[in-house]
Symmetry: C2
Subunit: 173 residues, 2 copies
DNA sequence: TAAATTTATCTTGACCTCAAGATAAATCAG
DNA sequence: CTGATTTATCTTGAGGTCAAGATAAATTTA
């Protein structure tokens, strides 16, 4: 458990030391791990988005194209499925779709089963773009975690899975 | 390392299965762990902010008050120290300070050493509010991770620390 | 089948954030 | 000491998100 030999301190250690001094009566175990989780996510986000920006997409736009792409042919989903998968509101999805449609990366096609919605479909241009980005995105991810040894990474993955399971998951990338 | 017996699947497993089907040639190890990290953070944020909202603060406002509080008496910092600690821009900090000042939770006092800036100081009201919130915040954090067993949590904390160290940290809560 | 209800999406208004440029004080060069 | 540069902060304009309300189609009920 805590038999590792690493003595390096990160920014969260400094924060915890302050809290310990000011509020010694608090059990800080949760704040520590939750603080690290938040910080890690915050630091990684711009590094991940950087690749998308080089291809003219921001993170939200990439998320939509990636969700359509991994759904498999014909790369077509209902808006409801998209925004529930992506954990955003319907209004947010409306904006994103308008943006992507203007760029010609998706198309709205009539839903034969439900006239209240139009389906969202990856255009040829959108398909080609996401295909072009994906290898770079995957490689970028590998680079970002390259400094962490395999065992620690495997621990991290399993622990996060435990946490997500405990929370009861949902959302996408 | 991977000798645990848990077979539960989370949402990221489903996403990875789609990618595996569509893009079997990709090494998805990074996407998997980064996806879980992002998702865990996204799911936790509203649950953490909920406590602050009950006290009339949002997350950004809490962050400022908490940073001042843990800095210790006299609970007074320069804007630059605040926004670099909190990893936001100076303009964002300007807005937050205006908000908190309007609520009477902070005061701007002249900086004797540098007339370009005014120091930000927790007001009595601000101090009392953060003191009132903190126990609830700490308890809430403990509740949020209650479903994860101690060993997994300890692994998670250490792995995140490894990751943050590898990334080269910065920011606050 | 017509009214009531539910579902799927869009619209509106407000909030938070950032990047880039503007201001003003502090510090440095000569 | 004076102009040039750096530093600290604020202002402005644009983007992304959400909550709540508005629409309109689908479904249920009588």
């Amino acid at each position: 458990m805590s038999e590792k030999v690493k003595n390096e301190t990160d920014a969260v250690d400094a924060i915890m030391a302050q809290w310990q001094r000011e509020k010694p009566e608090f059990d800080l175990t949760a704040m520590e791990v939750l603080g690290r989780l938040k910080r890690a996510s915050a630091m990684l986000s711009p590094k991940i988005e950087k690749v998308f920006l080089e291809f003219g997409l921001n993170q939200p736009e990439f998320d939509v194209l990636a969700t359509l792409r991994r759904s498999g042919a014909p790369y077509c989903l209902a808006p409801t499925e998209l925004f529930s998968t992506l954990m955003v509101t319907s209004g947010t999805m409306t904006n994103r779709m308008a943006q992507l449609e203007k760029k010609g990366l998706i198309e709205r096609v009539p839903n034969p089963d439900d006239a209240r919605s139009k389906l969202v479909k990856l255009s040829d241009k959108g398909f080609e773009l996401i295909e072009a980005i994906l290898p770079h995105h995957v490689q970028n991810g590998l680079s970002l975690i390259a400094g962490v040894d395999g065992g620690s990474l495997s621990d991290l993955n399993q622990s996060l899975k435990d946490l997500l399971t405990a929370l009861g998951t949902s959302e996408a990338e």
